[in-house]
Symmetry: C2
Subunit: 656 residues, 2 copies
Amino acid sequence: MNPAIYSEFIKPKDIAINDQFWGAFMERVRTKVIPYQWKALNDKVPGAEPSYCIRNFKLAAELTHPDLYYGVPRDIGFGGMVFQDSDLAKWIEAAAYSLAWHPDGELEKTLDETIDIICNAQQDDGYLDTYYIIKGLEKRFTNLKDNHELYCLGHYIEAATAYYEVAGKRKLLDAMIRYVDCVDKNIGAEEGKLHGYPGHEIAEMALVRLYAVTNDEKHLKLAKYFIDQRGQPPLFFEEETRRNGNTFYWKDSYVQYQYYQAGKPVREQHIAEGHAVRAVYLYSGMADVARLTGDDSLLAVCGDLWNDIVHRQMYITGSIGQSAYGEAFSYDYDLPNDTAYAETCAAIGLAFFARRMASIMPKGEYADVIERTLFNGIISGMALDGESFFYVNPLEALPQASLKDRRMRHVKIERQKWFGCACCPPNLARIIASLGSYVHSANGGSVYTHLYVGSEARLAPGGRELKIKIETKYPWEGQVDISFALEGKAAFSYGLRIPSWCKSFSLKLNGDNAAYSMQDGYALLNREWQDGDRITLTFDMPVNLVETNPHVRDNSGRIAVTRGPIVYCLEEKDNGKELFRLHAGRPEDFTVTYGKDLPEGLCTISFTGKREKDWQDGALYRNLADAAYEDKKLILIPYYAWANRGAGEMTVWIHK
Amino acid sequence: MNPAIYSEFIKPKDIAINDQFWGAFMERVRTKVIPYQWKALNDKVPGAEPSYCIRNFKLAAELTHPDLYYGVPRDIGFGGMVFQDSDLAKWIEAAAYSLAWHPDGELEKTLDETIDIICNAQQDDGYLDTYYIIKGLEKRFTNLKDNHELYCLGHYIEAATAYYEVAGKRKLLDAMIRYVDCVDKNIGAEEGKLHGYPGHEIAEMALVRLYAVTNDEKHLKLAKYFIDQRGQPPLFFEEETRRNGNTFYWKDSYVQYQYYQAGKPVREQHIAEGHAVRAVYLYSGMADVARLTGDDSLLAVCGDLWNDIVHRQMYITGSIGQSAYGEAFSYDYDLPNDTAYAETCAAIGLAFFARRMASIMPKGEYADVIERTLFNGIISGMALDGESFFYVNPLEALPQASLKDRRMRHVKIERQKWFGCACCPPNLARIIASLGSYVHSANGGSVYTHLYVGSEARLAPGGRELKIKIETKYPWEGQVDISFALEGKAAFSYGLRIPSWCKSFSLKLNGDNAAYSMQDGYALLNREWQDGDRITLTFDMPVNLVETNPHVRDNSGRIAVTRGPIVYCLEEKDNGKELFRLHAGRPEDFTVTYGKDLPEGLCTISFTGKREKDWQDGALYRNLADAAYEDKKLILIPYYAWANRGAGEMTVWIHK
């Protein structure tokens, strides 16, 4: 490891997004998703399953402070999932980021009042999980494997640090520091403590983020303990399960404790296994701890896990977690399109992991994956109107199969308003609202631009303020104009990511061809910069036909259509039923159209392919005959925009 | 309907099989399967899950006759599945057929002793189901939907009639007539009776078979009642479910009461739905009752259901029931290969249905399906050594997926010794042992040969004895020699089925080209026959590449290899891993080899295809490049013989 090349990503408050593409998403999150989720958290969405989330906090506060009364009957009990608290944390985090680019006094007031309620539920020793506060504190920390206390803690740390960074307010942060102290007193290496760790990871990376704010070694140490202790024999979860009466859902499954990535020490884990969201949250924390502790052995497994995911278990959309059973990874090169689980949260988690790896080593493949997930498997989780959501993001949709085939019953053909287990919508809100923090990173001697997002950012490479302005119509057009504002001159290396999809580009500096060197996917300009320097990076953005490694059974003989970072798909609406009868052939002429008959100025691609003709006799089988095709205009729309015009078939992969 | 063309299939006792192919299977059933299953029924297979089947009967007999003691503790309780009785019935039926072609005094003695035990368990009013005799008779007939009394009854009728037809012994037959009387007193249209019907069908066709022996209209009437009453509103099963506390497993499923084919009257059922074995058993009974009652409305739905199965829901192997969920049909043109359920028993049931349709109308498509199922999806259920069995018969096997993919956990890569729910092995035994009864059918003026099986048969068209001898090496070779023996001369039409796979054949009569007319898939010779007439039918038997109707998503872009009635497959053993990387191309030269390095003189087919080369860089996706293939000799073996040489991949469908 080389700490000299570590770079820090920019914080949301230091970048103002002003982007045709992402601006629309962020605005949708701000004006639709965050208000809608606020209503949902307060059980005020007519017809939707109640969340009970705010009610739980109010009740917990009432039970903690007998003088308080929020109007919640004290005997009403806990509502929702055991991890219901986390939904509010995600909402707070998203709302905080939203404030960073769009101040909103009303929303900030709501946040402060909500944080007051949360803090009123906190116990004297710092403990703060409404499930146990309401149902009985004597049971707390007795089921780390399944009951998500440390998961909720992790999300609250994320929320608290985000709000602190944006608004400078410490109340929730201080509450979380106290809660971490409480956990630290109960869990750890020392005798008398539980030698446990989270059943659903996230606390690891959250504690690192807390450490970045507090600089308190205790916070890094606890993150490191959770990672180092995980899967050490004798298995903590096995002992805990025994104490809890041996109810172990995954006992007869091939995943067993690897469902939690807890069947063996993390340094012996080289293949991504188990619940996909948990996995990438863990790997994100591992990368963080590896970076901060200079732990080469931990970084090495992060690299192995990264390679396993990205080269053997990732959909072209950046989605991961192939299997509905356990919402989990399955095995290398297994990438079923129709039964894909491909949870929105898992793609989000992969972006987290990628950003952390990019922070350690500026290699284009990390930001390539961030881009792939963001433009495809993440935002597919949200309708274009911001009002409904996918948990599962298949790469092939068959309405009849979703109705009649048990293997596909998890695959919804239309996005849902809300979920009983509502992890994905608020997770979407927080990553989109914090999108700016993926754009640039910097260290003393270098600045990197990873994503091309219209924005104005403030960085400080080597302590000197640098403003970077990006103007672009990316991903629909390939030109990116970048300009610098700085006082005086400054020498530093500036790296511009050249996406792996791009085979040809031009790079101009102040109107002339720029001298650059390519390194690990970045075009590096190493020079003395001055105010007003202008860079124009222009990517050729042809339509590409993409094929999959022949180890992948499900995509054999098929291509996908991409342009720039966007993966396209066929929908029934444009192409009729039985999309599997369509063949791309080897088209050379593509028509790229902007926004015709589609919402949001979406770019569509069309070309002449073929369709297998009906057989005349209705037979099911026949001796192979010369293929009977008819020419057929294929019309593709961006994958993320599917299922916005009613229910129907969809496919990403098309027969050659 | 035209009763003049109805024909009766020959009975097992009237045909002696002497066939290279089927003789080996029958011998295996006789010497391996029947003795092994006898041990299993008696809980004497070391390491196998006990059946408890014989023990249940002994216990029921002891409870019925306090003076009897078979050594079974009286407080030990019922063992096995609720339908455990049926396993013994299937065994008796298979053993009876076995006696027909291979007399065996020891086996017959065992049968008689077993029948004594069974009859000792019978109640005074004829009732005979060990589950309720042991667990409490007050509950009998209270759960027709799930508790399989009428299913077991059906199997016992089949066993009793088979044994009566073969050995002329009435004891079990008489017992079953008494049991039917008991059922008839309790279930039927009359007031005070339950207006119910079987949850798992088979009694319908069994009662028709009983009627053929007894000529007692009551037996046909009860079969007809079960069929006519099925699914009539108000739904009997719905009311029964309510009485039993509303536990209905399929309530939230799309199948609901159609799991049992009992959600609507049978004459409103035009699509094959629900549990596949139940479905085809019902349809078999419907065809039987339609034939005997001349019911055109019933025959019309049989035709619809037949067409739906054969033209829209049948695997090329003749297997049916695509979905593990409910062991059921899924929907038209859904034919997944890897997750196929394709239960052995369902293919057997389809052969039952086909034989009954062929009995009504001699159309080649019926016997084509009998042949397709028998040579492929039925016998694939048994290992070549007769010692292990498949319940599920996938068309693509992936060992890693069966281990790690929940969608495929029902797909076993190696045949199993025995099953807790052991329906398939004894069902296999009974159909193979009764194979002769599928070969010919006859009525007054016509004889049809449906299957080409080396045999000597005795028929009586128009009351005059006719002996037909078939000599052939079918299915490996296309020549079939047929000779007639009869006293004097007889005029009748003789129909020889020309299989749909056959595009060219020659037909000689006594050495000269025969004059024949083609009708519905049969070559008809209408003449006056005499003793010693010889027919030589020679099918051209090239290797065929077969493709699937473009409505079928899963076979798009793929071919299967067949020769004669045999469907071939690729196995890992011969072709290496990742069979999905192989492409057939458009080969014209095939090598057909007999028995090299394979058990049983199996015929193999090989040809030069292609294999996708590895990518050098290990990337998961890339821009479409020119396909890099290497020539690869593909070696195929008969599908039914897969998984006889260790675990590995298998596929029927190969990329074009």
